[in-house]
Amino acid sequence: MNRPGDAELPVRTRAALLDALEALEGQLDALIVIGAQALYMHAGEADVAIPPETKDADLSVDRDRLQDEPLLDEALASAGFHRDLEHPQPGGWFNSDGIPVDLMIAEAMAGPGARERRGARVPPHGRGSMRRTRGLEASIVDNDQVEIGAIGDSGDKRSFQARVAGPGALLVAKLHKIGERSENPTRLQDKDAHDLYRLLVAVPTPALAETVRRLLVHSFSRGVTEQALSHFERLFAAGPAALGSEMAGRAEAGVGSPDVVSAAVAALAADLLEAVGRSSGGLGGS
């Protein structure tokens, strides 16, 4: 750790991801990197006013490739990971450096149980080993093998071939998160909408549209993708004043240009919907 403060947080967070991949090497084939780390890989260089925020490492578990052994909980615990003892969360772990690592699983793979029940039922793995999350179905369909190593000059030489969610999967997952929370606005975080803006700025519309079309064709991801696009229309493409567009702008208050971000995310959302043939008169382009 050469530099103090937040500047090294992305380095430490990447190290936590490597810790998790190392601990779960026996299940590596079933893991897909999602969340902030995946966004950072796809859109870390996007021309936006605030730096990407990576303070945790999220993994999506592909049940179809998950082996009975090693057990996820045991593998993590024996590699020095620990749980939050006061507020235990299904799938929630911390590495020895205190960086959160979350194991999640697409709702369609999480086994029986009400949606409110957050722990997945995937025996023989423990009930608290994965958190069921709607929208992650897309990460099973849209991902790529990537060589993942340390960032910065930490001297960490570890490197793993692992699957990383593609931009379409990240879009769908993020839209589900914002869409679900839009019914309970106190849980909304402006940063989530800004992450989406970052992704839209970084990935050319035709490439993103291509992935989304694939997600719409695939039976496993079609449902969640349809639902995500309807959130997209309502929360972003409807215009700069739509809830999601406003959130994305607000994330830059004081450091960037909120009005520009709101207008831009609405325009790019409308572009994407049009490119996948879902245009229904969004105002983003006017």
Binding site: D47, V201, S257, A263, S286
Partner: protein
């Protein structure tokens, strides 16, 4: 006047020609080769019309009787004397000289007659009135040339670089002199220009209110992606100004808003995938009122950038934080004068 005299003659200004609390504007001693001399009383006026001549002549004769030593002849001098005023002056038995080169000097003792012709139309007035502001494209052209080239610079050179007519150019230079923004040797080159003062005064008079004149657009993927697109297309009728252009000169400038001059804003917007927006614009497009905005533009990384003097005036008139950014650019221009002035 001195260089119009015959070989061996000379003219020099004489101090201390005064009497009973009155002073001459100037007194000139004209000396022949043999040392004989005549004292010429000179009255200097900005403008003299022929109707003013009889009264001026009467006052000069009156003044002449009160001065010590008494003058031998009198002259009316002005910036410009029109033909009828010149005729009337000679009828009154006076001499004349103007700054365009019209000269009439008739002395009895020592005997001398010199006559020369300058302008027959007032280059400072022409068809219009004298300037009282830097409004309009003519002033913009002269001011831009004055800013972009370091003095000393002759007036004809400045007018040539400005690409304006002689008369119109003179009127701008006259106004600059009256505002004490430039210094000129009499009938000579501009020796000093207070460039920052000129720029700030020009900006106050500049007619372009950018916030009103500009069409507002959004480059949804931000300015960096716009630069990439711009350097890749074959496009000539545009120019980048404002804070994004300032960032190419002054490293601390932050480019959040791009202001372009574009000959055809609509076509420019379509080629660069800019979206018209009411709010949230990060691109302003302005059709230039005069091609002077393109003068001495530079190309950086495949993008055409306005000269610093143009960027500065646009920022001074720009929306939001632009005027503050203008001061930062002007400070940079002060520290790095050799980097932007030829």
């Amino acid at each position: 006047m001195g260089d119009r005299l015959p070989e061996g003659w000379s003219a020099r200004s004489r101090e201390k020609v005064a009497g009973r609390g009155k002073r001459a504007d100037a007194a000139i001693e004209v000396s022949a080769a043999n040392g004989d001399s005549s004292l010429l009383l000179v009255e200097v006026k900005r403008n003299v019309e022929s109707r003013d001549v009889p009264e001026l002549a009467r006052r000069l004769r009156e003044l002449g009787t009160e001065l010590e030593p008494p003058p031998d002849a009198a002259m009316l001098a002005a910036q410009y004397l029109n033909p009828s005023a010149r005729e009337r002056i000679v009828e009154e038995g006076l001499n004349y000289a103007d700054a365009t080169g019209n000269l009439y000097l008739a002395l009895e003792e020592p005997a001398l007659f010199v006559r020369d012709t300058g302008a027959s139309r007032d280059p400072w007035r022409g068809p219009g009135r004298p300037r009282d502001s830097f409004r309009g494209p003519i002033a913009a052209r002269v001011v831009r040339a004055l800013l972009d080239f370091a003095p000393p610079m002759t007036v004809p050179t400045l007018i040539e670089r400005s690409e304006v007519s002689t008369g119109a150019g003179y009127r701008v230079i006259d106004f600059l002199e009256r505002q004490d923004l430039v210094e000129r040797q009499p009938r000579g080159p501009i020796t000093r220009a207070d460039w920052r003062g000129v720029l700030e005064r020009w900006a106050r008079d500049y007619e372009l209110n950018l916030a009103e004149a500009a069409d507002t657009f959004l480059a949804p993927r931000g300015l960096r992606s716009l630069w990439e697109r711009l350097s890749g297309v074959e496009e000539s009728g545009y120019l980048l100004s404002g804070s994004a252009a300032a960032a190419y000169y002054e490293e601390y400038a932050q480019a959040r808003m791009a202001m372009f001059y574009a000959d055809d804003p609509q076509r420019f917007a379509e080629r660069l995938d800019l979206r018209p927006v009411e709010s949230g614009a990060n691109v302003l497009l302005v059709r230039p009122a005069d091609p002077v905005v393109y003068a001495r533009a530079q190309e950086r990384e495949g993008i055409r950038i306005a000269a610093p003097s143009q960027v500065a005036v646009d920022l001074l008139n720009g929306p939001g934080r632009a005027p503050v950014e203008a001061q930062a650019l002007l400070d940079w221009m002060e520290r790095n004068e050799s980097a932007w002035r030829r």
